[in-house]
Amino acid sequence: MVRTALAMVLVGGLMGYAGTAFATTMVADSGILGGGGESSDAHKYMMALLKREADSLSQLRPAADVVSRALDQQNVSQQAQDVKPLSVTYLGGSSSGRLSVHIYAVEIQAGSGQYQFFPLALTIVGGKVVRVE
C-alpha cells in the first residue's frame, strides 16, 4: 500500500514536472502568450554573445573539437571590451521541424564613439545554434 502510494506520487511528480516544462517551452516558442515566438535558445545565445560569455556560447553551439573551442574562446576574449549594446530587438523568426531561424536587430556603441546598427540571424537545429550571420 505504502509502496503503491509512493510510486503514484513519484509518477505524478515526474509527469507534472516534465509536462509543465514541455508546455511552457512550447507556449514560449510559439508566441501564443507574447514574446513573438522568440526561442529561448536564441535568446540565451544573444545574451551570452553580448555579455561575451564564452562558456555559455559553447554550450549553445554544436559539439566541437578542442581547437575550435579554444579559437572560440580567443575570439570572444579579443572582442572589444568597451563595446556597449544600446538595444537588442527580436524581429521574428520561423521554424520547420527541428530547424528554426531567429532574427535580431542590434545597436552598439563602441568606446571610440562609433555607432553600429546591424542585424543578426541565428539558425538553430535541435536547440544548437549552427549559423550566425
Binding site: G16, T20, H43, L86, S87, V88, T89, L91, I103, T123
Partner: protein, 150 residues
Amino acid sequence: MPVGGPMNNPKPAASAPMNSTLAALILATFLGGLVAGVTIYAVTDKGAEANPYASLPRAAEPAVTADVARALATDDAKGLSNQLDMEVLQQLQTAIEPLTDIRSMKFVGAVEKNGRTLAAYVAGGRTSDGTDVLVGFVLKVTGDQIVGVN
C-alpha cells in the same frame, strides 16, 4: 465449523467500498504528485533571462522590400534585376545561400532607427541537393532604397 473458511468467503459487500477507497487514495496520491511536480518546476525554473537591453519599436514592412520579397517568392529574376543594383544583388545571393529553389517567403519584422530600416525575412526552400532549409536575411533600407543585404 461452517463449510468454507475465511479464504473461501470473499465478502463482496465489504470489499467494494474498500476497493473504491483504495482507488480514490491512489488517484489522490497521483494528483498530489502531479501538483508537487508542477510546483517544483515553477519554483526551480529560472526561465529565460529577461532582455536587459532596450528594444526598438516595430516598423511596418517597407514597400520596396515587399516588392523584392515578392520577386524572390515568384522566381521573378527580371523584377529583381530592375529593383536592385548589382552590388546588392550579389549580397542577396550570398545571404540566401544555400537556397537554390525558394518556395516560401515570410516577412518576420522590421525596425527603424536614424533613417535606416532593417526588414527581416525568412525564406524556405531547397538546396541544389534537394534538402529543405530555412534561411534568414535582412534588407537594409535608407530613403526607400535597398542599400544592403545581410
